[in-house]
Amino acid sequence: MFRLEDIVRAFYIAKKDIKEYYLKPPTISWGIVFPVAFTLAFILKGGHHAKEIVPGLIALALFFGTTSMAAASIVFERKIGSFERLLLFPISYTGIALGKTLSSFIFGIVSLIATIVVVLPFILNVHVCSLLLIVVLMLSAVMFSAFGVFISFLIKDPTNTMMIFNSIRLPMIFLCGIFIPVSSLPLPLRLIAFLLPLTYSVEATKFAIDGDYDIIPPAVSILLMFITTILLILLTSIKIRRAIP
């Protein structure tokens, strides 16, 4: 699927994005401050039940972190015309999609670390499967990044970026098992939940932290996250190709 030189160039795109966008106000506010703030708010409000929502909050914070970076880097570049510069380099469209996914992934990890620092006191006494948690969070970060990158390419008017992103992200808080288990949702909403990538991340993170899951076995969640990631990167590369007039 990827040539070696595409993968190397994808890293260069990620490195450039880190230098260019990591300190931009929308990236910091929506990607780090907002997820850390709502995680802290829910944990403080949750009292002794806080432990139960920690896995969902971690996944949600990661989701906001990665998608905010994608929105900042892609939508902004398309607006000022510098995205076209990437199309002039000898790299495939899939390579560009991978590069953009990678920069969001790295930012997502930074955002995740900030969130983990906040939730750490609440999971100290919990038996955590560390290796599985790392795998799940890494995979979630890549999948959310690919999701954010794909959505960014669907946005036509840059002024609507955060409105569109939030209208996708915020309903997921209630549909993906963070506060309300997916198994308790009415059937139509449950079906929608199965279509949303955050659901699988929340389920797998729950298992890695609690040793328990709600409705989707962790192996299935991990497999589906992997497939979704590949699919989103491919769809993005198709979208880039089709965007050429």
Partner: protein
């Protein structure tokens, strides 16, 4: 293979709009080839098709023998493109912008730094090495954009309106750079709506209007296309306000009066016309302040050719 670019019936439709209309041309290796035309003529669309930023609707194009539709990644390694907007990365320094381009073009790691430093020096940007792109003036941004397109030592450079929006000094600096690059063996495809730029810089020029190439040749060949006509520039005292004064003279094609009261008389028989003009000047008791006879210049050529195509298009539409 002596051609850097071969375009065969290259065509672009945007929906129903025909932006580029079955144009064919060749750009020889080592030359500066100009694409001259008014705004909206199809210049940028042609460049975009040739570097893969816009799909080709019909026809074919080859860069150094490689088919654009089939070998785009190979072609991208051979060409450098400077678009009509300076679209480098705002938050990155001049050095980081060039380094990123070097990485993306696959310049070997051990040569990257040297190459970037050489370009900063060549373009007079050494002291701006750490300045962010957003902090540069328009002229410096344009210079850095050209430098970025050269970082991988391309054989062919596309320059799309390279001096648009620049002041006279920056414009001349860019022209000198273009000549210098061409002397170093780089083939240059230059689009411009600036007639003087095209006639000063280019070895050959194609004039494009409404998506069609309406004339092609060296600047001298293009001037010959209107060589039958010469222009007399006349200033008299007291000034004449009516351009009908000289219209009855034999050999005169057109008369117009400029803002500074200079009378521009286009003639097809200079001697007969001059005799007639001098007679009238004497008869009216006018004093000649200046009198110049010159051949058609670049602007005359351009206007004549553009007017001719516009006229024939209007006639076609009426039919």
């Amino acid at each position: 293979m002596s051609n850097a670019i071969v375009a065969e019936r290259l065509t672009k439709y945007y929906g129903d709009l025909l932006a580029v209309d079955h144009i064919s041309f060749q750009v020889r290796k080592g030359e500066i080839y100009g694409f001259l035309g008014p705004n909206g003529a199809g210049k940028t669309t042609t460049v975009r098709m040739l570097c893969g930023l816009t799909r080709i609707s019909e026809g074919r194009a080859y860069i150094y023998g490689h088919d654009i539709n089939e070998e785009l990644v190979t072609i991208k390694k051979l060409i450098g493109v400077v678009q009509d907007i300076s679209n480098l990365y705002m938050e990155l320094s001049c050095y980081d912008n060039l380094m990123f381009c070097a990485e993306m073009y696959g310049v070997p790691r051990q040569r990257r730094k040297e190459q970037v430093m050489n370009l900063l020096k060549f373009f007079g940007l050494e002291n701006k090495k750490h300045a962010k792109f957003k902090e540069l003036s328009k002229g410096l941004r344009r210079r850095l954009a050209i430098a970025a397109a050269l970082v991988h030592e391309p054989r062919l450079l596309f320059l799309d309106e390279p001096t648009i929006g620049l002041d006279v000094r920056s414009k001349r600096q860019i022209w000198n750079l273009i000549r210098k690059l061409n002397e170093e063996g780089i083939t240059i495809f230059l689009t411009t709506h600036n007639i003087y730029e095209a006639f000063r810089l280019c070895d050959r020029i194609a004039i494009i209007n409404r998506g069609k190439i309406i004339a092609e040749g060296t600047p001298t060949e293009l001037r010959k296309k209107v060589s039958g006509n010469k222009i007399i520039e006349l200033q008299v005292s007291p000034p004449i306000k009516k351009n009908t004064t000289f219209e009855s003279i034999n050999g005169i094609v057109d008369v117009s009066i400029g803002r500074d009261n200079t009378i521009y008389i286009t003639v097809n028989d200079a001697i007969t016309a001059l005799e007639g003009i001098l007679k009238i000047v004497k008869k009216l008791g006018l004093e000649i302040v200046t009198l110049n006879l010159r051949g058609a210049d670049a602007e005359d050529v351009f206007i004549k050719l553009i007017d001719e195509t516009d006229r024939s298009t209007r006639l076609d539409t009426r039919r």
